[in-house]
Amino acid sequence: MSTQHSRSAARLMISPSVILLLAWMIIPLSLTLYFSFLRYNLLMPGANPFVGFENYTYFLTDPAFFTALTNTLLLVGGVLVITIIGGVLLALLLDQPMWGQGIVRILVIAPFFVMPTVSALVWKNMFMNPVNGLFAYMAKAVGLQPFDFLAVAPLASIIVIVSWQWLPFATLILLTAMQSLDSERLEAAEMDGAGPFARFFYMVVPHLSRAITVVILIQTIFLLSIFAEILVTTNGGPGNASTNLTYLVYAQSLLQFDVGGGSAGGVVAIILANIVAIFLMRMIGKNLDA
């Protein structure tokens, strides 16, 4: 792929897919941008006048916006912390030689294959339900008052549910990375007087840093747009205690039929996601260069 000729041929070959991808992205994006400057409410048919930044002012000054912003960051941060710490520990465990390793590994990966709506419903109805849930049953068995997770600690409950879904992904990537750690290096550290904890912090963790970076980047992209889990469990409530940006945009445009406001929210969410992405790249992206 180094001659002038082969390079231009390559460009020609990939242009259809590039153009298709661009159209796929550009059309919805520009429509969203366009709508965000209109007064466009499905309950008020007729003219959709151009209103400038009114939708943005409205969205950004809405007190729900800041709650949603905090919730989004808490959700992303909480899930990242749980899945990475849990993933490293699980990977350590699965890396040990043990009986039935193959089956255990498949079982650990399983949650990743369950649809978000399904797993959230299972958690809501079978585990966290204050009347029929397994946790309520266990609490009652030891004589405690059942705890209504989704009503009292809605955001924390959603963080737990989402973490459960993403833990396998983190574990899988970290386990692969761990298996590529040279055993002679660990033995050298052992001879150098490093105990199990020192070996973990000085050898294993630095070796995993690149894999951890990948996990953080990929998960952040998906976690910023968590939606189904909130819709089927708490509906963003009580109040807006578990509303994140995605859910707020949904509520704006489809529950209040305000397409203009929703679009403005979407644009704000895109800008915020890009800020987070730049921030992440700056902070940990350099790990990927080495």
């Binding site: 040279d182 290096r185 033995e187 001879m191 490093a194 000085y202 050898m203 840093s209």
Partner: protein, 334 residues
């Protein structure tokens, strides 16, 4: 300060006995080389001494103290691995400092030792680089540096030079020998390179399938190999081992004669043969001689340049004083 005694040490992996019970004493300050064919258990034995493998039986004593159950770090031994096993995310300085840091040594003492090691091994120029930015020889030096700063009771080397090119290997061989004469610390060195074994060792231990075949100084093994295996293993090119009628004449099962103890003449001698391949090294010439009337082909080594072509007829005469005789069990007859 570094006397290692193995008392009936054995190692089994599951059902397979890799090292049957074995006794060996390594004196303080000795340079001991383990040699043997691939898979004979050299690395395993070294790892048993290091504590990286548990023994299946017997006792390891270091300076009279029972070390059999001690964890590796407590044994006061330092190991240099074939793959160097450097820590890629740390600079050379941090790599060398790691064992000292783990031992909780004060900063000034750490610095003094690291600078000292860097000077001995010429690491100073790249002390702030990472292992990924070093050549193989430099990495090897860092690995040795990491071992010497600990001032261990003994060094363990597992084929440390096998990843280096020939020229570098000669250089590092000299450096390690010099290091030994300077530090006077016990060193145990695993290799399957003849030259390394012969030139570096105070004492060579020849292993076969986990058994010790012979222990002795390089020249002892060269002059008086205890059995056919050692005779064939030590020396390069290999000793000519001859069985059958010719050996019967000397009243034994096998006779052995080293290639350098055979004289060559184009006109007269004991065995007549035809030259096959000849290898000219400049300083020496090796001939492979066929059709000698013996069952085996003979290898002959002659000093300097000798003009002889493939197909030429030669006469070989062994030096009778240097003939080795072995009995039916393969043991040496004096």
């Amino acid at each position: 300060m570094g006397r290692i005694t193995l008392d009936k040490v054995a190692k089994r992996f599951g059902e397979v006995e890799v090292i049957p019970p074995l006794d060996l004493t390594i004196e303080d300050g000795e340079f001991v080389v383990f040699v043997g064919p691939s898979g004979c258990g050299k690395s395993t034995l070294l790892r048993l001494i290091a504590g990286l493998e548990d023994v299946s039986g017997g006792e390891i004593r270091i300076d009279g103290q029972n070390a059999t159950e001690m964890p590796p770090a407590k044994r006061g031994l330092a190991m240099v691995f074939q793959s160097y096993a450097l820590y890629p995310h740390m600079t050379v300085r941090k790599n060398i400092a790691f064992p000292l840091k783990m031992a909780g040594m004060p900063e000034e003492e750490q610095k003094r030792r690291i600078d000292n090691a860097a000077k001995i091994l010429n690491l100073t120029d790249y002390i702030d680089r990472r292992p990924g930015q070093l050549s193989g020889g430099q990495r090897q030096r860092v690995a040795i540096g990491r071992a010497i700063v600990r001032e261990p009771a003994a060094f363990l080397f597992d084929e440390p030079l096998s990843n280096l090119d020939a020229a570098l290997r000669v250089g590092m061989r000299l450096e390690i020998t010099e290091l030994h004469s300077r530090l006077k610390t016990t060193m145990i060195y695993v290799t399957h390179d003849q030259v390394e074994a012969m030139t570096m060792a105070d004492k060579i231990v020849v292993l076969r399938a986990g058994h010790i075949e012979q222990v002795g100084s390089p020249l002892e093994l060269y002059r008086t190999p205890r059995n056919v295996f050692v005779a064939g293993f030590i020396g390069s090119p290999k000793m000519n081992l001859i069985e059958g009628g010719e050996a019967g004449k000397h009243g034994c099962k096998t006779i052995g004669i080293r290639p350098e103890h055979i004289s060559v003449s184009p006109t007269e001698g004991m065995w007549k043969g035809r030259v096959g391949v000849s290898e000219h090294l400049g300083s020496d010439t090796f001939f492979y001689v066929h059709e000698t009337g013996l069952r085996e082909d003979m290898t002959v080594r002659v000093s300097g340049e000798v003009e002889m072509k493939s197909g030429d007829t030669v006469y070989l005469t062994p030096d009778m004083d240097k003939l080795h005789r072995f009995d039916d069990a393969g043991l040496r007859l004096s």
